[in-house]
């Protein structure tokens, strides 16, 4: 006979596992360097084109172009500051049944994806990722692109380990269902 209390015990909200108690791991600082290099290459190309146009283009636009180039430079500095500030807010945590990810310096966001809802996962490494020995872990759910999760800047070996763990747990949960 089933014990009354163990069959369907009452749970209070306070007894539920809470995200607040979870110890999050910061993503690798190497991501910051990767992002700075990416941004620098992009802005370098943009500035070079602007300067070439300034030197050899129509003289009518030169005055406007000066302001545009200064604007681009300011934008570059702002983007770098955002990257530096945002890096420490990017954190992740694995629990036995879900993956948690915190991000955002200005808009703070915490996302939780239960393993049982993961459709597939992958580890992606761009050439810069390979240079810094980091990777991006991508998690896909059936909730569409807005609910998919992409965590950049995880050390490569750890990303692979995490993916293997997620696949194992997702399969386990699938079997339980």
């Amino acid at each position: 006979m089933i014990e009354k209390d163990t069959f369907n015990p009452q749970l209070t909200i306070d007894a539920l596992p809470t995200i607040e108690d979870v110890l999050f791991t910061n993503i690798s600082k190497k991501l910051l360097w990767k992002n700075i290099i990416n941004l620098s290459i992009f802005f370098f190309i943009l500035m070079t084109l602007g300067i070439l146009f300034y030197l050899f283009g129509e003289s009518d636009f030169k005055e406007v172009l000066e302001y545009v180039l200064i604007g681009v430079l300011v934008l570059y500095i702002v983007f770098i500051i955002v990257q530096i500030k945002a890096i420490r807010f990017k954190q992740y945590a694995l629990r036995s049944k879900d993956l948690l990810y915190k991000s955002g310096w200005i808009w703070r966001r915490t996302t939780a994806v239960p393993f049982a809802r993961i459709q597939h996962s992958e580890v992606v490494r761009s050439p810069f990722d390979q240079l810094f020995d980091i990777a991006t872990l991508k998690i896909y759910t059936a909730g569409g692109s807005s609910s998919d999760l992409s965590i950049s800047g995880i050390p490569e070996k750890r990303a692979e380990k995490m993916r293997a763990y997620i696949v194992r747990q997702a399969k386990l949960q699938d079997e339980e269902e």
């Binding site: 909200i13 596992p17 808009w107 915490t110 939780a112 239960p114 809802r117 759910t141 059936a142 909730g143």
Partner: protein
């Protein structure tokens, strides 16, 4: 697959040949029409053009006939087996337990020939959809009944039982009559139909000008259109046609619409020229939403959307819309899916700052704008003032109505503004949960909660941060402990 056939291997109805031929012609013409036009217009090589046309006509017939004769299906007690392929033979077995949905469709051609188009959605690693162009209505029903029985229970249902069960179809929980459809058509969104009409008129006008049938200059056209009489007639005609289009669309798409509760799912059927039949299993339903607008509310009508996931594992969403639903229809649908409506365990509302912050900001924008307008274009100040006041009013209603009710196994989110907009979602259908804070929300200890499902996202803004975290924890707990299938 064990070959204990309920239906031995056979071809589709002979009428499928006509549809296959039509498809082949479409493919051929799509690929070869530029060559045909070049031969006829540029080179004026009529002999070659006739030869090409002949190749298209004969080639399509030959391929369609081969395709028809090489496509065979059989229904066994375990599932459906299909042999197909024009040049390469392909054998496909779909066990009943893998079948997610079976949809029937009947165009006028199907109706005249008494055949049915069947679309089968099956769970696989990728998109795996099987279509029968035209099989006899009897075979289609037999197949659907067997599949439903197999999915519902493991015991085998005989051919005879299946036919009997189809004959005794339960009474529909929703049956939209023609008069209700006409009323729903009257209160439909005519602006959408108007947009379609405008698009057609502009396209048609451009085409006539290209062909030099209309040869007005831009100025002449502007004169004509701007003429007060023409403008009045044009506007009147425009609204009348928009209205007729809405009405026609509503009647054609939803004629004799029925939603029947059958086993652990629904069967939706409706449409005049093309009858669409969709089977929706309960576990596939992700979100149920019902909406109205001011006009619809006057006659007590709502549009109900049953959003369900398809077999495509990439997360394709499908939705069935049932117009002209009354409150008792909604109650029947939601009761079938979510059980009897009990008092919620918790109800949460958006914080008043969702409105007050907007109210403050709108004044900050409104006052300088009004000051500038009063100086430069004073006569439009009343119009702008009304627009601003309307915005404030809409925001007030949005804040006032926003609520989230948490029940034992599902939640209800009300995000009505003027029209109703209520969604229901089982906990175990949730894909992921997100809690977000803007800088302002952080200062005021507020947050916005977003719940993602395979049937769309549900947002709940300006909730106290602590409550948001608690709800997030609860939802995750419910999703993770649930053993119920979500798709």
């Amino acid at each position: 697959m064990k070959r204990s056939d309920v239906l031995p291997p056979q071809r589709q109805s002979i009428f499928a040949l006509g549809l296959m031929l039509f498809k082949m012609y479409k493919v051929f013409f799509k690929a070869l029409w530029p060559a045909l036009v070049l031969l006829l217009v540029n080179n004026r090589n009529y002999t070659l053009a006739i030869i090409l046309l002949g190749v298209i006509l004969v080639g399509a017939i030959v391929l369609a006939v081969i395709k028809y004769y090489r496509f065979q299906y059989s229904i066994t007690e375990e599932g459906v087996a299909i042999e197909s392929g024009i040049f390469t033979r392909k054998h496909t077995d779909i066990p009943f337990k893998k079948i997610q949905t079976i949809d029937f469709e009947q165009s006028i051609y199907h109706k005249i020939c008494d055949v049915v188009k069947v679309n089968i959605d099956s769970a696989g690693s990728g998109k795996e959809e099987i279509n029968f162009d035209a099989i006899s209505a009897h075979d289609a029903r037999l197949f659907r009944d067997l599949a439903l029985a197999k999915k519902g229970s493991n015991k085998v249902e005989s051919n005879q039982d299946s036919r009997a069960s189809f004959a005794k179809e339960p009474a529909p929980i929703v049956h939209i009559r023609l008069w209700d459809l006409i009323k729903a058509g009257i209160v439909e969104n005519h602006f959408r139909s108007g947009g379609v009409l405008l698009f057609i008129i502009i396209g048609f006008y451009d085409r006539l000008r290209e062909l030099k049938i209309i040869d007005y200059t831009e100025e002449e056209v502007a004169d004509i259109i701007m003429g007060a009489t023409y403008l009045m007639v044009f506007i009147g005609l425009f609204f009348f046609l928009s209205f007729l289009i809405s009405l026609g669309r509503m009647a054609l798409k939803n004629y004799n619409l029925r939603l029947v509760r059958r086993g652990d799912g629904f069967i939706y059927r409706g449409g005049l020229l093309t009858t669409r039949q969709v089977s929706i299993k309960d576990h596939k339903i992700q979100v149920v939403t019902w909406k109205d607008n001011l006009l619809k509310r006057l006659i007590g009508f709502n549009d109900v959307f049953i959003k369900h996931a398809s077999a495509d594992r990439t997360g394709k969403k499908s939705s069935v819309k049932i117009p002209a639903c009354q409150q008792h229809h909604i109650a029947s649908i939601t009761r079938s899916i979510y059980g009897e409506s009990n008092h919620p365990q918790e109800v949460h509302y958006s914080d008043k700052r969702m409105f007050t912050r907007f109210y403050l900001y709108i004044w900050l924008i409104f006052l300088p704008v009004i000051a500038l307008l009063a100086y430069y274009i004073p006569h439009i100040v009343p119009i702008v003032t009304v627009i601003f006041l309307l915005m404030v009013l809409l925001r007030y209603f949005a804040w006032h109505n926003y609520s989230m009710a948490i029940h034992a196994d599902h939640l209800v989110i009300n995000k009505s503004v003027i029209g109703k907009n209520i969604s229901m979602l089982h906990f175990h259908k949730i894909q992921s949960v997100e809690c977000e804070q803007s800088p302002y929300q952080r200062r005021k200890d507020l947050a916005t909660l977003t719940i993602y499902s395979a049937g769309g996202n549900l947002r709940f803004p300006y909730i106290p941060f602590n409550v948001g975290k608690q709800i997030m924890d609860k939802l995750l707990y419910e999703v993770e402990r649930s053993k119920l299938p979500w798709m």
